[in-house]
Subunit: 281 residues, 2 copies
Amino acid sequence: MKTETTIQGLSASLNPARASRKMIGFVPTMGNLHEGHLNLVREARKLCDVVVVSIFVNPIQFGPNEDFDNYPRTLEHDSHLLAEVGCDIVFAPSVEQMYGNHPRLTNISVGEITNDLCGLQRPGHFDGVAVVVTKLFNIVQPNYAFFGQKDFQQLAVIKQLVRDLNMPIDVIGVPITRAEDGLALSSRNGYLSEQERKTAPTIYQTLKTAETDLHNGQALSDVLEKIRVNLTDAGFVVDYIEARSPSLQKIDQFDQDVVLFIAAKLGKTRLIDNLQVKYSS
Amino acid sequence: MKTETTIQGLSASLNPARASRKMIGFVPTMGNLHEGHLNLVREARKLCDVVVVSIFVNPIQFGPNEDFDNYPRTLEHDSHLLAEVGCDIVFAPSVEQMYGNHPRLTNISVGEITNDLCGLQRPGHFDGVAVVVTKLFNIVQPNYAFFGQKDFQQLAVIKQLVRDLNMPIDVIGVPITRAEDGLALSSRNGYLSEQERKTAPTIYQTLKTAETDLHNGQALSDVLEKIRVNLTDAGFVVDYIEARSPSLQKIDQFDQDVVLFIAAKLGKTRLIDNLQVKYSS
């Protein structure tokens, strides 16, 4: 496995693969990798000849009061993990390398589907994601790119961006990887205290209960309210609980497939999760 | 020469060239071609193995009161001209093909350098240009793209866009092609009456006079004022007269290379031109 820290170095490493028309798979990450990321890499490994993983904590997707400075940077450990799951090239550029050589004047925004859910509490977040993903796509020029369904809204934004701009890339959404107790894996889980970590799986439990309740015919609004009560009782401060179509349209009845979204704070840590509930008439 | 009207057809036509790593040159146009466009194609022909010219009147770069509906569409004549100068593939998609298959939510804006000059009178214009050029770049995936220096601000915007987003494309600016009397060639010249056509070269004459005046040591502000007087006397309604650095920074003294920009209306027709004046101390 190679590690490249410059765009030029990465191009040099990828040129032979491009020249022989090999399929390039790309997994963009911010590092601090866990099994969720490794499953993205395994999926890429299955479909592609060459697997590139980027590790870049992207400053422009963090708000002024967010955790950019303290976001865990664990390149050495990440590299060991990536080598084990068959990554070919780690691309770990500096902020300077990605943004430093001239003032950036270009912004990309994906409207409507970024205005609520996580977009509401994090203004500019998805613009920052759209810009960095576009840059990385242009640098790596992959055939396939892999994103986790845990960040379901992010996945929807990137699919929309790729479609709107005719990017020649297939975007693959990979199911959420969960701990044995159901907690969706996330880099931010590391911020949880021992007690909070024990409480955190309540999010997934409420989602599974909601799935059962919906299939038993309970009204969607009642089910959402029950989630809110259960989370609040368990000590969460709820940011949002929403029901959407898989393409993020608002829905108010369970008469089609629905994705249930939760964002809630436990202490200082903001956790998100989602569950797609299939409709069968 | 092939003509393709669908993205899929174009990809099929270009795949053999891509597979054999040929250099692809791309000239995006809105059709109604004149010698200025043909010089872009000749330049592409010199540098590249395969030359693609797109003809697409892009609705989203026209304002509500602009000439989208009446913009001349002359595909058959354009095709004859392109075949003569060695174009390999004409890409002439419908609006449906470019924008029709789903609602577009993505916007791209290039800040600062789009807020004045032509951007001031045409809000949203350069966003529309940035989106369509990005889409076309992703569809054609050229190695080189060619743009005329007549639309100097557009060229600067596209260079900035490509740099900011790490697009793997070399953008080449090609000098303005002029009629014998100095008028910069433009599709919009066709809107001029016979009498207006005789007056139109005044724009270039004032630019050349300004160049001489600057080299003779006249103050930049005086030179700009003299252009304004001369154009107004000749019957133009001046939109702007500006002096900028080649990267579009405002300058108020002739102590570096300067680009003089003019936009002015003659009757109902808005004409633009520019001249780069070299500084030598």
